[in-house]
Point group: C2
Chain length 186, copies 2
């Protein structure tokens, strides 16, 4: 994966409607721009497939100007549903990273992916499956440092509905912890 400190990073987040992956994209872009002082572009494209329920958010982060807002070859793709996997897990860099919810995407279709029980972790950590998108951000940032941990924590907290800030901070930390385990092979 390219070094996020010096280069352009392309991230795609995909899931079903209701899993909050568009919000996750907005939070990631705000972390990069508002709190890390980089440039960020966040895009959703909807075509005739939008009716199907799967949606994706794309974020491009760069220390410099962003001329092309499109994700051409993703550095990181995070996928929380089988349908989203089928539609949006293409065009990843050869050394890119694919992270999937292991209970949602069957293993035969993504043998090289990093597999974590993201939705289950959300429920176990906060009692609310809806925090799966925050867990996913924690895993993503923990594995890639595409934005700083401080920045993503501030951005998550700023976007959390009032009263859910602490719950979302716990979910983010659980994502960081899961990423550490992946990195150290434990």
């Amino acid at each position: 994966m390219s070094s996020s400190m010096t280069e352009r990073s392309e991230i795609r987040l995909a899931g079903e409607g209701g899993q909050g992956m568009i919000l996750a994209g907005i939070i990631l872009a705000e972390a990069a721009a508002i709190y890390d002082g980089k440039n960020a572009v966040q895009t959703q494209s909807y075509g005739p497939e939008a009716r199907g329920g799967a949606s994706k958010a794309e974020v491009v982060i760069s220390p410099g100007e962003i001329d092309h807002p499109e994700v051409l070859q993703a550095d990181v793709v995070v996928v929380l549903s089988q349908e989203a996997f089928k539609k949006f897990s293409t065009s990843i860099k050869p050394d890119g990273l694919l992270i999937v919810d292991e209970d949602k995407v069957d293993s035969s279709s993504a043998p090289k992916a990093i597999r974590l029980p993201i939705t289950k972790m959300a429920f176990e950590t906060t009692g609310r499956q809806i925090t799966a998108n925050t867990i996913a951000l924690g895993v993503l940032v923990g594995l890639t440092d595409v934005v700083s941990r401080e920045a993503i924590e501030k951005a998550v907290t700023a976007r959390a509905p009032r009263g859910t800030e602490e719950m979302n901070r716990k979910a983010l930390q659980a994502g960081f912890d899961a990423a550490e385990k992946v990195k150290t092979g434990k």
Copy 2:
């Protein structure tokens, strides 16, 4: 303004953080794609200015493929704050439409704009200023038909936090009504 039925439409929504203009952009794009069956791309770009507080969302809607997701010359710009006006009211088509909150953007700086008390209307209609973004969508769609009224109502309802659906429908209708008054000159 270009005919939204047959051509590409470029819309920019801008305001301060907390005014919900990014969410308004997502709702507009979802109305176009999920409920009107068009293609839509919705983009936020953040640069060093993001820290300042003003933010913009851009939406491109087209019956056909969207090759360039950037807004080059907007057909419609809606602005809810003076700072957002300064930063994001540029590059409008000669026959384009600028809609501003008349209590937020001073008249000398936008003599040709359509001026409506959008935030005040939100408070008067629903008791909640936060519905100003929904009022803005009602005004925008009422004036331009960039998406159908049915589509924007479904999209607003689908994105409204639980328990606020009716409040948001009322806000949308107030926006439609204000647009009618503008069109008929009453």
